[in-house]
Point group: C5
Chain length 376, copies 5
Amino acid sequence: MIRALMAGPEGVREVEPASLGEVLRQLAGDQPLGRGGTGGPFLWVDLDAPTGEEWELLTGVFRFHPLAVEDCQSFTELPKLDVYPDYLFIVLHQVEPAGTRRVRRDELDVFLGPRYLVTVHVDPVEVVGKQWERERQGKGALAQGADMLFHALADALVDQYIPVLEGLQDRLEEMITGLLDESPHPRLPRVTLAIRRQLLRLRHSLEPQREVFARLAQRSTPFVSERAREYLRDVHDHSDRLVGLLALNRELVTYAVDLYLALGNNRMNAIVQRLTIVTTIFMPLTLITGIYGMNFRFMPELEHPYGYPAVLALIAALGIGLYLYFWRRGWLEPVPIPPRRRRPDRGPESRHPPLPPGEASRGRAGGPPSGPRTDG
Amino acid sequence: MIRALMAGPEGVREVEPASLGEVLRQLAGDQPLGRGGTGGPFLWVDLDAPTGEEWELLTGVFRFHPLAVEDCQSFTELPKLDVYPDYLFIVLHQVEPAGTRRVRRDELDVFLGPRYLVTVHVDPVEVVGKQWERERQGKGALAQGADMLFHALADALVDQYIPVLEGLQDRLEEMITGLLDESPHPRLPRVTLAIRRQLLRLRHSLEPQREVFARLAQRSTPFVSERAREYLRDVHDHSDRLVGLLALNRELVTYAVDLYLALGNNRMNAIVQRLTIVTTIFMPLTLITGIYGMNFRFMPELEHPYGYPAVLALIAALGIGLYLYFWRRGWLEPVPIPPRRRRPDRGPESRHPPLPPGEASRGRAGGPPSGPRTDG
Amino acid sequence: MIRALMAGPEGVREVEPASLGEVLRQLAGDQPLGRGGTGGPFLWVDLDAPTGEEWELLTGVFRFHPLAVEDCQSFTELPKLDVYPDYLFIVLHQVEPAGTRRVRRDELDVFLGPRYLVTVHVDPVEVVGKQWERERQGKGALAQGADMLFHALADALVDQYIPVLEGLQDRLEEMITGLLDESPHPRLPRVTLAIRRQLLRLRHSLEPQREVFARLAQRSTPFVSERAREYLRDVHDHSDRLVGLLALNRELVTYAVDLYLALGNNRMNAIVQRLTIVTTIFMPLTLITGIYGMNFRFMPELEHPYGYPAVLALIAALGIGLYLYFWRRGWLEPVPIPPRRRRPDRGPESRHPPLPPGEASRGRAGGPPSGPRTDG
Amino acid sequence: MIRALMAGPEGVREVEPASLGEVLRQLAGDQPLGRGGTGGPFLWVDLDAPTGEEWELLTGVFRFHPLAVEDCQSFTELPKLDVYPDYLFIVLHQVEPAGTRRVRRDELDVFLGPRYLVTVHVDPVEVVGKQWERERQGKGALAQGADMLFHALADALVDQYIPVLEGLQDRLEEMITGLLDESPHPRLPRVTLAIRRQLLRLRHSLEPQREVFARLAQRSTPFVSERAREYLRDVHDHSDRLVGLLALNRELVTYAVDLYLALGNNRMNAIVQRLTIVTTIFMPLTLITGIYGMNFRFMPELEHPYGYPAVLALIAALGIGLYLYFWRRGWLEPVPIPPRRRRPDRGPESRHPPLPPGEASRGRAGGPPSGPRTDG
Amino acid sequence: MIRALMAGPEGVREVEPASLGEVLRQLAGDQPLGRGGTGGPFLWVDLDAPTGEEWELLTGVFRFHPLAVEDCQSFTELPKLDVYPDYLFIVLHQVEPAGTRRVRRDELDVFLGPRYLVTVHVDPVEVVGKQWERERQGKGALAQGADMLFHALADALVDQYIPVLEGLQDRLEEMITGLLDESPHPRLPRVTLAIRRQLLRLRHSLEPQREVFARLAQRSTPFVSERAREYLRDVHDHSDRLVGLLALNRELVTYAVDLYLALGNNRMNAIVQRLTIVTTIFMPLTLITGIYGMNFRFMPELEHPYGYPAVLALIAALGIGLYLYFWRRGWLEPVPIPPRRRRPDRGPESRHPPLPPGEASRGRAGGPPSGPRTDG
Ligand SMILES: [Mg+2]
Ligand SMILES: [Mg+2]
Ligand SMILES: [Mg+2]
Ligand SMILES: [Mg+2]
Ligand SMILES: [Mg+2]
Ligand SMILES: [Mg+2]
Ligand SMILES: [Mg+2]
Ligand SMILES: [Mg+2]
Ligand SMILES: [Mg+2]
Ligand SMILES: [Mg+2]
Ligand SMILES: [Mg+2]
Ligand SMILES: [Mg+2]
Ligand SMILES: [Mg+2]
Ligand SMILES: [Mg+2]
Ligand SMILES: [Mg+2]
Ligand SMILES: [Mg+2]
Ligand SMILES: [Mg+2]
Ligand SMILES: [Mg+2]
Ligand SMILES: [Mg+2]
Ligand SMILES: [Mg+2]
Ligand SMILES: [Mg+2]
Ligand SMILES: [Mg+2]
Ligand SMILES: [Mg+2]
Ligand SMILES: [Mg+2]
Ligand SMILES: [Mg+2]
Ligand SMILES: [Mg+2]
Ligand SMILES: [Mg+2]
Ligand SMILES: [Mg+2]
Ligand SMILES: [Mg+2]
Ligand SMILES: [Mg+2]
Ligand SMILES: [Mg+2]
């Protein structure tokens, strides 16, 4: 589907896709094509899951480079910024949670020219839909320039990562809280591996995307006005924070797994200790009974009237003595409750409720003054 | 074997190796040697497993530097780009899978001059053969310049890495899926070591190769036209993605091995726990039977008519009591099914079928719009 | 709450918030706005947990960029320095211990203009309060320039990190001292995980903050005079040291956990060894008693008058022999005292008193010549 | 020992050490001292384990800087390049295998002037001896310039590292092949530690040496002609490959040790499982026999004619039932063959023969076209 | 204590602290203050543990920056170089061993001006004392310039690190040698943690100190003549080597601990194997004796005259058979000698004598030609 909007001082109007060639010529002729215009009007064309013919618009009318169009058609693994003489070509990734431990990445391709912005996406991209509504109602950013519209889209798209990352972090903090409270979460190793894989994939998208915004924010790229650059610096700040959060989460995973193993070793130590105590106490006692169970004809103890009580007393004394020995040596500490045991208990009344959104969720931008910020 | 093609506006024709000296002089005299010509005609010479005499062509006719020719003759461990005054010398590596866990690396050496491209390879290089066919049929890139032909070869050669890397990743994901589903793949440690070794070797080829394309795509190298540079930027993008995939796979290996060890520790814990339970329950019972198996003459219990049932009841009560004690302490959780056991089951109805080509295979360039892209 | 001070050669006076617009115009008109003035007077405005209306001062009177004001309103995860044409916008973090293993981070936002400094903070910031008192008494730095006042605040704020980091390090050293003394602290794994998490979060604040001071100290930023730059170099030195301390502490955590695991393995080895000794000694002895407990009619040993003492002697000899065998093989080393055991002992007479503030606390700046500096 | 050669268009002649001062003056006066001469003649002076007096030549006749001479006299840990106004001072390291797991590093110091090369070495350096022979027979590089002679020495010296590194890698691959074939080499941990130590030391020499060649190959250093620079680029390529091989080998060591530990854990799991099976099967059976070994007067089963066969059948049924239970639970997998066991078998018919020189040895430079290059 | 020396062409003379102001004025007026003078005379002032009044010299007479003086007064964690318009301020650290595993770091602060050097130290600094003696006897470096005196002090101070680092390395090599010889040092984990902590702290001093010398050696800093710069390059070489040694030692620690754990696991495997063998052999035998110890009336075997010898033979055959089974399966390998056992043996006749100073000690600078350099 192709749809187009034009916005300028006189307001917003929809443009017929068929007339886009004509409109482009007018835009070019209207006034000298300054780089990052201030006058307007500005054009936004959105290609939503374009069909075979609709792809023609990019090559035929806009005359974009075939390699850029090819990048629009297939999933481009790494976000990037390519500078062409007449436009910028920018590949961005959006994320959405898909289930509890999975993440869905979609691509948004953008051509940013002096007076127009072309967005291309094979799958639906939420931020495009919302911004389109805003522009149609005249509350958008297009009237301030194609670059300001690009900022609005990029800002919303980067903000989408925050709840996804915070969801993963909450799951992780839940694990770690369990570890620190001496009740390690039963499925910790598997959950952390799953989270780690997601973090790896998010990094795959986020690090090159941060570089795209770094270049747009710091260096003098064509088609981006000084004013938009200041706004894109803010998007870069957020990308930077996201990459930092990723790194923090990856380190937390490592530590949590290390700690889980250490606690597992402690438990193993305690169990084997218990086994050793039992064996060491009972084997000598059993030997004594074995001795007096032998069938020798001449065993004077057996004939003695106090033989039996004496041996019973010996067994009791030895057993208690060995027990006290272990007690004094400190071997009798309780074995920690095995973590796996509690698995059937999970469900509605789980002892591992999701953490209230912690420190991570306090970073949301643009809100009112936030409450206290204590790190845990 | 030496073979040569000439392509230009007038079409394609094969050239006799013997007349190459003459052709080269004509090319040089035809018109001033612009760097990265547009006019044509252009020459492609391919040396396929050259014999002793055929090597002479490089030193005698083309007068290439002896060190470059030496690099053609032996396997050059690291891809590279050397800039000589009259030509570029470029070493690239191609890969092919050789068996299920092995990879074969071959070298393709390229001399890129203003109007000619010379390719040298000791072993057969698939992309050269295919491109040669395309050129002969006049559907190739040579007519657009020697640099555009170089791009065509480099693009195909880099794309060859994708299925190889994805094959390794599929094998790895199969392992990890097993871990996450609680049925770790029996040979995981060995398979991951083998994959890790391949990844190390691929990195050996891929990282310097990416640097070669980065230099060709970003800086102004002679003999590469602005147009070819834009296309080589695309090859650099793909190389970058491959290096990223390598890093991702290496981290996945680390995590999988860590998780395997953690699960092995959990299983050990459960087994030792079981052993401790059995020992702790039976040792006291055996002691009781030992006591009443002693042969003392005066043991009043033995004479009592209810002595035997009383002791049997004591044994039963103690056994059940200890069992309940362990049950209440949560020690009775099931031991995880041992991973090794399932090895004989593998084969046609294996529980570890190869994953359907997952996310990784979605990145293939240049295809039609791809389906949903959910990361797992 | 908004409050304002003006300081110059003539002394200090408080300014009504309502008249700030007027004052700003005077400052601008008074004399050409040199960058980093020397003449004075200078203005300090402090917004402490501003209400909705009070935020207006920033946008309406000072006309700061809306993105900078937005950053003031929410928690900004990473300290930063943004250069605007008419002022610097600087985000800093202060820390305070919040409980024994937790840290609270608060944000201080600063606008540094040619003749004014505006500080904004949603939560109370200790160093601002103290400096305000000092300025009011005329003992402050404002009279020497807005940049010198900024230095005074930054210096105090960075110094606040030292006791926090040293507190964490002391806790860590206590753990390590226990490990080196063969009495590992019982809760070591959990405590180190908690410390590690704090260190990660402090790094989140400290590394970008160091970069802010590096830029202010090394490069020529507007609104900072050469004199203030020399002082800010000192703040950068301290930030550098803090980042180094962080790295040192993170490595100490890793080593301590590794060592804890190694000692745990040693203990496990010793326990299993003990179990093996007991089993290996008693099983053969029990077998012997079992043999002579069999009820065969024809067992000549049973009839022999010295049968019983001979078998007793055999049992004793075999038991002692096996014991001596293990003793000679070195298997009889004592099992290390289990660490967990001592947990109830902790409290007033704990064997793990907090270390006297060690080397780390000797680095405090500006004090008198310190005593000997031996690293432990 | 001091010896000197002079080579030029007119051929080669030996020079008396005593006349070196005179010769140097002639060289200087002969024609203007171009940097990296082309005309010749050129002088090579070699100091082989110089005595106290012979050191005087460097300070007295050549007037080299005292710090450079000091560096010649003691072992200089890190190769380096110092640029003095009248000459380059270059420290290189050669290696030789010294036993199976040890490596010997020796130092070669070089002064490269416009028309002379001075080599200094305390220990014999193989490549100097060989090159001296070649020069004396007029087949050397000195006649083409002092810088070309330096290249010849450096090239041979760097090539010496290849067999040493490949020897270590072969030993390592032997270990890893054993691991992948399920028969881990018994001494793997110790051998890999020894290899790791050698790799660390080789890196100590190789990384700074690569930097020396990078500077000589890439930047414009005095006393090195453009032609020699092209040749030194080849030496840098080889150094780069060596550093890459080092890194690859270090990662292989890490993986091999990780895998060894994982396989050890698997084996431990299997052994403990076996122990648990035996204990769980026999303890209940022994309890039954204990019960019927008790001496109560009234035990009706004992009187029953089929009591004994019934209990025997019960014991058999319970034993077999427990065995089948474990079999069905998959606990009966074979314990992997213990690695240590095979140690006495080593020697002439060892199952761990050295690998045929694998991929690593295929990289040797300058040979004839190599065979297939399959990575394993 | 304040003391001062003046050296120049006319010789050396001591200067009264009280007259330092006068002397400074003379030095400044004597001749234009070239940067890094050649003419002399030059002044050296040493403040050794200055008292409150003596600090006044720095601020009052020399007019050094208050921040620099503050840095002199407290321990400055990181060595650094601050360039002030009229002098350089340099903070260096010296080390001394303090006990067997501890290191003491002291600070030496230096002000280097055009014609003077001021050294400040709160604790005694050995190299200052020795150099002072040398200067007083006219054998020093002051007469050649303040920068040459600075080199002499820096060179000696850096050389002090070598024995300290080598002491730690010797201790480490002793551990590793034990590991490679199959007799791991009993206290290895604790000793390596202690060494690791020292290495961390030394790195804290050494890395920034190297950067100080890198800046002095490579860039054009004021107050350092070209001649002194060449000498400082040598100090930088040594610092570089020290940092490399630190890294090497840190990696050795990691490897040694990894190997220790691997050997511990091997030993555990062997012990548990032994336990399993004993249990598996004796449990069936005990069951047999239990069967024939039952008191059934009708047990035909018991009546048979050869019943007893037959069962004895069965027991022997089964025991030997199981033993042979384990022997053939390779389970009977010897358990490695437990490392802890040998602890009482340590002392005069310890099996772990300190290594003869190994490779590390061969690097000492400036000595006579060293012997063979084989790395182990
Ligand atoms: Mg795409
Ligand atoms: Mg945003
Ligand atoms: Mg950035
Ligand atoms: Mg912001
Ligand atoms: Mg955080
Ligand atoms: Mg925002
Ligand atoms: Mg080659
Ligand atoms: Mg491609
Ligand atoms: Mg790149
Ligand atoms: Mg592309
Ligand atoms: Mg992916
Ligand atoms: Mg493509
Ligand atoms: Mg904020
Ligand atoms: Mg401070
Ligand atoms: Mg810095
Ligand atoms: Mg300071
Ligand atoms: Mg410290
Ligand atoms: Mg200070
Ligand atoms: Mg030397
Ligand atoms: Mg070579
Ligand atoms: Mg290089
Ligand atoms: Mg080569
Ligand atoms: Mg590790
Ligand atoms: Mg290789
Ligand atoms: Mg070569
Ligand atoms: Mg100090
Ligand atoms: Mg020195
Ligand atoms: Mg350096
Ligand atoms: Mg030196
Ligand atoms: Mg060394
Ligand atoms: Mg020296």
